[in-house]
C-alpha cells in the first residue's frame, strides 16, 4: 500500500542512473558505423595527382589489417591527426590509405605536399559518393579494414595515440595471431 507512493521516486532513480551513465559514457553526436563487420563497399577512385596509382575496393583486401583515413584539405580537425599518421608511417606500424573527401585535386595535392604524405595509396572522392557509401558523415573518420577487406571498426573524429592504442592496436594484434 505504501509502496505505490514510492513509484515516482523509483522512476526518477532509474532516469537519474541512466543520465549519470550517459553523461560519462555516451556521445550523442557519434553514430556508430552500420558497416562494421561488413565488406567495404565497391568503389574505384583516381589518386590525388602525384600520390599513387589510385584506390579501389580490391586494394583494401591486403591480407593484413590496414587503415582507411577519410581526409580533406578543408578539414581543420584533419590537421590535428595528421602528424600522428606521419608517425605511424615512419614507424611502419600499419598501412594507411587515404580517401580524399569532397576536395579539389590541386588543394588536396598541395595539402599533402605541405603536411606530408602518410598514405600508401590515395583516392579522390570528388563528389563524396564513395564517402556516403562508407557512411561517412564527418571528416576525419578512420576505418579499420581487415585482411579480407571487411570493415572492423570506425573511429570518428581525429585519431589520437590513446584511441589508436585502445581501439586499433588490439585489432592489429588479433589479425597477426
Amino acid at each position: 500500500m505504501q509502496l505505490r507512493f514510492l513509484v515516482p521516486v523509483l522512476t526518477f532513480v532509474a532516469i537519474a542512473v541512466v543520465m549519470w551513465y550517459a553523461l560519462f559514457n555516451l556521445n550523442p553526436t557519434e553514430i556508430p558505423s552500420e558497416l562494421v563487420s561488413k565488406a567495404a563497399p565497391e568503389f574505384s577512385l583516381e589518386a590525388v595527382p602525384g600520390y599513387g596509382p589510385g584506390l579501389a575496393k580490391s586494394d583494401l583486401a591486403t591480407g593484413k589489417v590496414v587503415l582507411l583515413n577519410v581526409f580533406a584539405s578543408w578539414c581543420v580537425a584533419c590537421m590535428v591527426e595528421h602528424p600522428f599518421f606521419m608517425e605511424l608511417r615512419e614507424q611502419d606500424t600499419v598501412d594507411i590509405y587515404g580517401l580524399n573527401y569532397k576536395d579539389t585535386p590541386t588543394a588536396a595535392a598541395e595539402w599533402l605536399q605541405r603536411h606530408g604524405n602518410p598514405y600508401k595509396r590515395t583516392g579522390m572522392d570528388l563528389k563524396g559518393r564513395v564517402g556516403i557509401d562508407f557512411g561517412v558523415y564527418g571528416v576525419p573518420e578512420t576505418f579499420v579494414i581487415g585482411p579480407d577487406g571487411t570493415i572492423l571498426d570506425k573511429v570518428i573524429g581525429p585519431l589520437t595515440r590513446p584511441m589508436f592504442d585502445m581501439r586499433i592496436r588490439p585489432l592489429l594484434k588479433g589479425a597477426e595471431s
Binding site: 553526436t29 553514430i31 556508430p32 558505423s33 552500420e34 558497416l35 578539414c75 581543420v76 580537425a77 569532397k102 563528389k127 563524396g128 559518393r129 556516403i132 557509401d133 562508407f134 557512411g135 558523415y137 564527418g138 571528416v139
Partner: protein, 165 residues
Amino acid sequence: MKALCHLTLLLCVTLPFFALPAGAVFLDERLEDPAQEARARDISGDIRCLVCQNQSILDSNADLAQDLRQIVRERITLGDSDAEVRDYLVRRYGDWVLLDPPFKMTTYLLWIGPAVIFLIGALLMILFLRGRSGQNETATTTVLTREEQAELDRLFDSDGPGDRS
C-alpha cells in the same frame, strides 16, 4: 561541417529553447515529375541530418544534407520505392537517420510505451473513481437515464456506500 557543429553547440548552450541554424532556400536540382519531387521531399523530411542536431535533411543547408537530398532524388528516379530509398540510407547510416523510428525490437518499448502508460493511468483512474463513487451527499433531483442508473447501480453494488476515509 565542423563550424556547423560548433554553431549547434553554441545554441544548445545558450538557448533555453532550441534554435536550429537558420534555414536557407536551396538551389537544388528538382525532379521534373512533380509527383516524384513531392515524394523526394516527403522522404527527405523524415531523414535526419547527420551533422546538424535534430533537423531533417530537407531543412538543412549542410553539405552532406544536400548530397543526401540529391541521393534521395536519384534513387527515386532509378525507380526505388519510398521504403527502398529509406533502406538505402539506413544501410549506410543506421536507424539513426530515420526521424520516424521504425517499429522493431529496439523500439517496441517506445511505440507501445504511450499506450501502456495510458492504460495503467486509466486503470488507476477507474480504481480511484470506483473507490470513491457512492451515494451523493446532497442528492440532486436530476433524472437519470436508464443507462446511467444501471451504471450507478453497478458501482454501488461493487463498492457499498463508498469510501469516506
